[in-house]
Symmetry: C2
Subunit: 241 residues, 2 copies
Amino acid sequence: MVGEHTSKQFDAELEAVRARVLQMGGLVESQVRLAMAALIAGDLNQMNVIVDNDFQVNTLEMEIDEACSRIIARRQPAASDLRVLLTIVKTITDLERIGDSAKKIARMGILLSERNSLYLPRYSQLEYATSLALEMLRKSLDAFARLDLNVAAQVVRQDEKVDDEFQSIMRYLITFMMEDPRTISTSLELLFVAKAIERIGDHAKNIAEYLIYLVKGRDMRHASVEEIEREVLDSPSPRSN
Amino acid sequence: MVGEHTSKQFDAELEAVRARVLQMGGLVESQVRLAMAALIAGDLNQMNVIVDNDFQVNTLEMEIDEACSRIIARRQPAASDLRVLLTIVKTITDLERIGDSAKKIARMGILLSERNSLYLPRYSQLEYATSLALEMLRKSLDAFARLDLNVAAQVVRQDEKVDDEFQSIMRYLITFMMEDPRTISTSLELLFVAKAIERIGDHAKNIAEYLIYLVKGRDMRHASVEEIEREVLDSPSPRSN
């Protein structure tokens, strides 16, 4: 039957796009992790590799975007499937920005190594902030894969911790700069690294909020953490998909 | 005829959504302009008004997003109209982020006024950078309204000027901080204002690039300024729309 055939094709195409989103998520996660490792190790080669590899992230974004447009135009999906596709279109933009943040971390590392600033103050705190942000990213992708709102709500909650870490790092760097003004340029580069990590958390939170909107039909993007958690607690166990 | 009636309805709905995008653009432009004026005048009340009004920006984003989803689901538009709608979905995300930048400028102004830092170094340069970014925003909205690729290409070119202004402001603030470490907190708040202005330019550039993709069918989001200008020069005069 034509209808059934088309429906199976659509399901296959949608599944393929979802898989590519997870692939893109894995790529940007790797970029972030490697960028922070390169910064801390002072590995200039690795930093340049991160910057060069960013084009792969951009290429994936454009390909997935185009695939979504084609599916929407050709399959004219029902409202619920359309919402999945629009969620994907927004999600990949945030993933691409996470890739930009990884590139920013690598670029700051290159500037730091040009200035021969081998001593990095508080990089264990930067590492910790990065691990929090990466956990948020992994959870947002997991929530996307399984449409699990509880995990999505955890991501939103965790963003506050990343923001707090950023504030703490900034306060430390301010003190550091005041005690030794010769460290100002270096400290600013580290501040931009901390800011890039904070932005990664923000983008992971955006992805989680798109998911909550997708499943609940309520736009949570500008709701408080408490409102989101209340909304999610009303939710049954994850829909099998 | 049903087909004609539906087509007229669709055209009317699409036109209504396009008008709302321009309305949202006007709102965020106003937020940015007023935030910078409030910062320079040290007008704490006005700064709080900007922060409070941000919810209007978010509300518009959610309403336009929802309107696009409904149109796509109900009207099942042809590929070319679908591309317009997907362009709008992405554009309003960038406009909402510009609103966030305006809120950031106002928040930094509030911190500065709490510290009684009435002397703002280089605010004429901050004003100039803001005027450049606002011009980029106005042009991107104009290009959107008229589908004018030449104006869109100008926006992309102008982003370099805003980035250069940011670098210049940062270099100045670094020197200022080194000469007087007591000004470090104030200088960082101004640096974040400069960064917010730079981000406004980036978002206006994103909007221009979505437009070039919409009209040319080629994804220019990660192309160089020169490639974009070459692409646009091949373009005939703006399509009447």
